[in-house]
Symmetry: C2
Amino acid sequence: MALIVQKFGGSSLSDAESIKRVAKRIVETRRTGNEVIVVVSAMGDTTDELLDLAAEVTPIPAPRELDMLLTAGERISMALLAMAIKGMGEEALSFTGSQAGMITTAEHGSAKIVDVTPRRVREALDQGAIAIVAGFQGFNRGTGDITTLGRGGSDTTAVALAAALDAEVCEIYTDVDGVYTTDPRVVHLARKIDSVTSEEMLELAASGAKVLHLRAVEYARRHGVVLHVRSSFSNEQGTIVYDPKKGHPKGAQVEEPIITGIAFERNEAKVTVGGVPDVPGKAAQIFEIVAKTNANIDMIVQNVSEDNRTDISLTVQTKDGRKVIEALEAARETIGCTRLQYADQIAKLAVVGAGMRDASGVSAQLFRALFDAGINIEMISTSEIRISVVTRADVMEKAVQVLHTAFGLDADEEATVYAGTGR
Amino acid sequence: MALIVQKFGGSSLSDAESIKRVAKRIVETRRTGNEVIVVVSAMGDTTDELLDLAAEVTPIPAPRELDMLLTAGERISMALLAMAIKGMGEEALSFTGSQAGMITTAEHGSAKIVDVTPRRVREALDQGAIAIVAGFQGFNRGTGDITTLGRGGSDTTAVALAAALDAEVCEIYTDVDGVYTTDPRVVHLARKIDSVTSEEMLELAASGAKVLHLRAVEYARRHGVVLHVRSSFSNEQGTIVYDPKKGHPKGAQVEEPIITGIAFERNEAKVTVGGVPDVPGKAAQIFEIVAKTNANIDMIVQNVSEDNRTDISLTVQTKDGRKVIEALEAARETIGCTRLQYADQIAKLAVVGAGMRDASGVSAQLFRALFDAGINIEMISTSEIRISVVTRADVMEKAVQVLHTAFGLDADEEATVYAGTGR
């Protein structure tokens, strides 16, 4: 008997009808002889409605109370789903984050999981019940308070439970039918990827692929959890995310493609700190200043120095760009740099593939393709299995299309199953 | 520094505006130097909306899951209220039933409070915060599950916390401005009662007065909690419910009126089991049969026997009448009675007053007043401080009006403050 974790997001649970549809699917999984844990988000727009109510009541809601408020959302969806399943004749028990043993840090709105003690979930399974667990929420032991995990929280709850209870697979149900070589809205010949390694998925998610949250992918990779990203609207196989060291879960002999996919991020801003004295500790000083703005740094490039001075460039999300440049301006004399530059009409793309390790000439091929298309590269950064380039925002889509073709990723025909917005 | 418990129902918390209004009132109470615990129901129609959703999902929702679902309601109102209060500059912390230590039996939907361990509530007060507690909900230690207290649950939560933390008063905010001598929609000259003893309130609530739930009144009486029933729309004093043995909380020397008020219940049905053999154990046998139908018996009257046979009459709520008579029909031979009679167009009224104990002639005065008005009495039942009579349903209102005048309860002018529906 296999243990399967299934995670359903709010768009799969928008009303009573869709809850019944999801319940039916869960019951089918159970009746084929599996133990099933289901992790749910709040129904449809519930979270936004609760946030609106909070905003009507006070301009800056207290974080503890906001967590108390928002966690009502999953409570509603999980109870309804459990009663729908019971109505279909299978046992089901719903559990809040704290009942399911999701122990977190105390930071309201962005708590981290520190321990998972799913004793009650295990007992429910042992009694033959389907366990329905509230995603996104947890509990801090020190304060005794309810917490929420922030963005990507429900995916992370699902992966954490799969890891703690050694599930065979963690199925992430979504409104698209898997992970694509790139966004089909940009490249019409994008293909669904059957399998991807966890480190490739990590690079894709970190570079802007929206279908899985980076945090959940990281958690899955660290704990060896196999993910299956699939559509809640069909029974098609989606995309398997697995650890190649452990082998493919279906025993498939997958030859790693050189390039697996292309991710991109539209809203980037580039900050260049130019003419920085090339003395030890300068980079640390600059990044401490940036860190204080709470901006999330995306890419960092430093060139070799000339005349004992160097240029350091970094990219951040556009929304954070202004405060980063202001913080650096204020510290200009301390840093001792000769110039500060700012550009917010840029975008980033990343070509990812585990096969890149053993293949030579990938970067040459990439730069040639972009050059042939007349696309200028503003910054370059690489990892073992990824090449990221920054371009002007208005040519990024063209760059993705060109590279998708150049690396042989184009499908024979247009994707038709792609239904949603990629969350 | 006095400790005050304030309970606000759903009609006082219908939207963001009313939550802010209630928050303002709570902040004022706090700023006059009191410690404040607030108990809330779910906002406006939330509970009904959640019940509708459950009904859409499955015809008979699992009780455990229904409790999980419904408790989301208070979670929303308490979090919003806490953030509204914090937005006004006072500290506030919200607590679920289980966080507030409301330990109950395991019966979902109608759990009983077995212990109150409000450690976290006490700590919040000690830190200078206002504690906001979810009404209606609790926690069972054996199962670890969330429970709800059923009808009147939030009032009971408020009273239980007031008892456990020895509050000076438990204020029940409602949409009427207190307890009236009778329903002002039936008697326009009904008067607001300034003070009423807990045992009188118990009799009134048990006889159909809707403003306070019987269960909360019982709990308050048993634990000596002073109640103050008042309007959430005005600052007027409402009605104080107190234990005369402890004296009036404001030190008022209240002379107990002979008659305090008149309650009534419209939807009653009368069942008569006639010609029952007058042998020991017959009444027990009959009431065991009725008990199995889960009908709530309201009034029981047995006359002296003639020829070793007697008549036993009882009243139940109309909705339960049919199943009671059917159960008795089925057991007719076992009982050995000569006839069964059923009437569902009846109503009941109760005249209540602690002063009745020391006054003579009250029942004579009552029967005379009804006789003069041409109203026939179908059944009579009395306690030390109450006389209940059953009449035909269509003359009950007239009976209440006649008695209100006969016992000198009429006000000089019509009540104008009466706003709501008496819940």
